[in-house]
């Protein structure tokens, strides 16, 4: 309850102090777009912000899926190999 009123107060305070302009939003969106994997393929002008947000969401979802698959794979590998402390040191040096 208090957190909700606090967040509302913070929101109104931010509305009064920092009017978030469309230009700022567009700037942030273009910065976000630069991170997406498809940014290198297309010309980065005139991509609507909604499309960038959509691609961001689907990219995050695909990354989540990849992490889930990798953790499944690691679980199976873990079940197969019992790693002792000596082997862990070897693995660590291989990763570096």
């Amino acid at each position: 309850m208090s957190s909700r009123s606090r967040s509302r107060a913070r929101a109104s305070a931010s509305a009064r102090s920092t009017m978030i302009t469309d230009e700022q939003i567009g700037d942030l969106v273009s910065k976000l777009q630069a991170l997406l994997p498809e940014a290198r393929l297309r010309t980065n002008d005139r991509v609507p912000s909604a499309k960038v947000l959509q691609e961001t969401c689907s990219y995050i979802r695909s990354l989540h899926r990849e992490v889930d698959d990798l953790s499944d794979r690691l679980t199976d590998l873990l079940a197969a190999a019992d790693v002792s402390t000596a082997q862990a040191a070897v693995i660590r040096s291989l990763l570096m």
Binding site: R4, R8, A15, D68, S71, L78, A88, I91
Partner: protein
């Protein structure tokens, strides 16, 4: 005399270390240009890989005792435990500067506390749902934001942990850092999977693992 020179030397070392660290992160460290690149350094990759390995080994040593009670459902919870351990290691590598990392660690802590309290009360119904009621996200001054953008922003806020009620600029900043961190997580877990598969293949094929007859 010796003490002052010693402390001065320590101070100098600390200052040079801080300078080196600042140089490694690029600019002042808080600049948004440096933000995505901090997840691409070799150092953070090493730190995360090391933490990931420790976390996974903890899961491995923890689950044999847990799976004794429910032998059939052993593998799905273990994969989820690995995923959560990886996420927690990622959040720790973020050094508490981003909201999503703090949210991941806070939710884990809450779950541990709830489980501990449930165990203390001998597993009577003590569902501590600390989830706050989902209020509509604050508009925060951008009256010109179209509904489509607001909808997408809400979806994005649900995807990034701990960012549901965040105003739009902060949400985008958190999302960009989260994406960079996730990419590093994928790279590190892939490398670890490769290494582990090589190790397990060699150990199962060779028979005695590391020690080979000279």
């Amino acid at each position: 005399m010796a003490s002052t020179s010693g402390s001065a030397a320590v101070e100098e070392r600390g200052r040079s270390e801080r300078k080196r660290k600042r140089g490694a992160t690029g600019e002042h460290g808080e600049g948004t240009e440096a933000e995505p690149y901090k997840w691409r350094t070799r150092r953070v990759h090493e730190i995360y890989s090391s933490k990931l390995l420790d976390a996974i080994r903890l899961v491995r040593s923890g689950s044999p005792s847990a799976s004794s009670s429910s032998a059939a459902a052993a593998s799905p919870p273990r994969s989820r435990a690995v995923r959560e351990a990886a996420d927690r290691a990622l959040a720790v590598s973020a050094r508490g500067r981003t909201r999503w990392s703090r949210a991941i660690l806070a939710s884990h802590r809450r779950r541990i506390q709830a489980a501990r309290r449930a165990r203390l009360r001998d597993r009577t119904s003590s569902s501590l749902s600390s989830r706050r009621p989902f209020s509509s996200s604050a508009s925060s001054g951008k009256g010109s934001k179209t509904p489509a953008l607001a909808r997408k922003a809400k979806v994005l806020g649900r995807l990034v942990p701990g960012c549901r009620k965040l105003p739009f600029p902060a949400l985008l900043a958190e999302a960009s850092d989260y994406i960079a961190a996730l990419e590093m997580q994928v790279r590190a877990m892939t490398a670890l999977a490769e290494v582990l598969s090589t190790v397990s293949a060699s150990s199962s094929g060779g028979g005695s693992g590391s020690s080979s007859p000279a």
